[in-house]
Symmetry: C2
Subunit: 228 residues, 2 copies
């Protein structure tokens, strides 16, 4: 079983795509042992190579972690972008899809999400490389999608009522991140409130948008137009 799994030398060289396999191993370990209970040696073991092998692909432990963050931001940005889809068909429906995509990423890649956003505490904790990843173009792109969405929503407002774009984008990000961060670690919070993260986010966003003055249709339209 184990050996057959290692038999598919997918690519050209010895192991194949060790780099990707190591990143995947790191994510798995981080899910199990937390973002900093991760060890390079264990990742190598999980990938079925010697403890020295990772050094062919990453300068050191920190570089691997940084790549987990960087590549995570890339998939994150791509996913948010696809969900937003330029606000098609409508800004509102696209916005909902965006929120769901945000939570889906955090749920499906909790290890990536944790390394990307919960680096521990402050900056100067030796993981400068990760901090660099958080300032990478990919991270920028992800935030830009949120900002685009905020812009599209604000465009529905008369010009003199529009709050600063960045502020609205931050509100959106803040709420999404708060829910992702609190709910993804299944423990305490999920036990307190019998609601899915998606329900909390969507209801919160509806209230927020109503407060913003977006949301032309009256909430409760669905009950007004019939049950199914």
């Amino acid at each position: 079983m184990k050996t057959s799994g290692r038999r598919w030398h997918r690519r050209s060289y010895h192991h194949g795509n060790l780099k990707e396999v190591l990143l995947e191993a790191a994510r798995t370990l981080i899910e199990q042992h937390g973002a900093f209970g991760f060890s390079l040696a264990e990742a190598a073991r999980l990938a079925g190579v010697s403890p020295a092998a990772p050094y062919r692909h990453f300068r050191d432990r920190d570089a691997l972690l940084a790549e987990v963050a960087r590549s995570g931001f890339e998939r994150f940005a791509a996913r948010l972008d696809a969900a937003w889809n330029n606000g098609i068909p409508t800004p509102l429906s696209a916005f909902e899809a965006l929120g769901r995509a945000y939570l889906a990423f955090a749920r499906e890649e909790p290890a990536s999400y944790a390394v990307m956003f919960e680096t521990g505490v402050s900056e100067a904790q030796g993981t400068e490389a990760i901090q660099a990843a958080a300032a990478s173009p990919a991270a920028e792109k992800a935030f830009n999608v949120l900002q685009q969405a905020a812009a599209a929503l604000c465009r529905q407002l008369p010009e003199n009522e529009r709050p600063p774009l960045k502020l609205v984008a931050m509100h959106i990000w803040t709420m999404s991140h708060g829910i992702a961060s609190l709910f993804i670690q299944e423990g305490s919070v999920a036990r307190k409130v019998p609601l899915s993260p998606e329900e909390v986010l969507e209801s919160g966003m509806l209230i927020y948008l109503k407060g913003l003055g977006v949301l032309p249709e009256v909430p409760g339209e669905e009950t007004a137009s019939g049950e199914s």
Copy 2:
């Protein structure tokens, strides 16, 4: 200097209050090296005792970390409770104070906050003790303050328009936590948006409350009633 600092044998015994000193040392180290770059040996060194000394006060490393979380929740709850002050003088002003207290705690005790809420990733990461702390009475009490505040705000709504209390409490918590979590680690986010966490939280909450239907006064009252 160092020695004079160690001279004030505050209490009765040998060292004095080693337990508290160790917790403080742990918080300091966590601020510097991240929530899991913390080591029991280093904490002992910082407290000026032998590496075996901590075992007189904590079963093991994990127990110390759990106590950082537990005592953190206690101060957190006390602080939120004091700020909310039973909704006096008005629910709205008390609510603002509550939000500021939330952010103040995260800013002043980033290590505690990180251990309390950013335990890494999922539950089963060996830190069951910390997870237990998150379910402690103190943690419960903190959440209850938020729920009280949510209740007081909702009471201003006609009964048939009130969303579920727990949902509103979650929205509030979610936004506060999102901002605390994103802003407290000074790096990436603070650079993107030139706003203080307090400004983001307060503006976000105002929009949310407006959407809820609370907020009788029109926003912008301050500009209407003069400048100073």
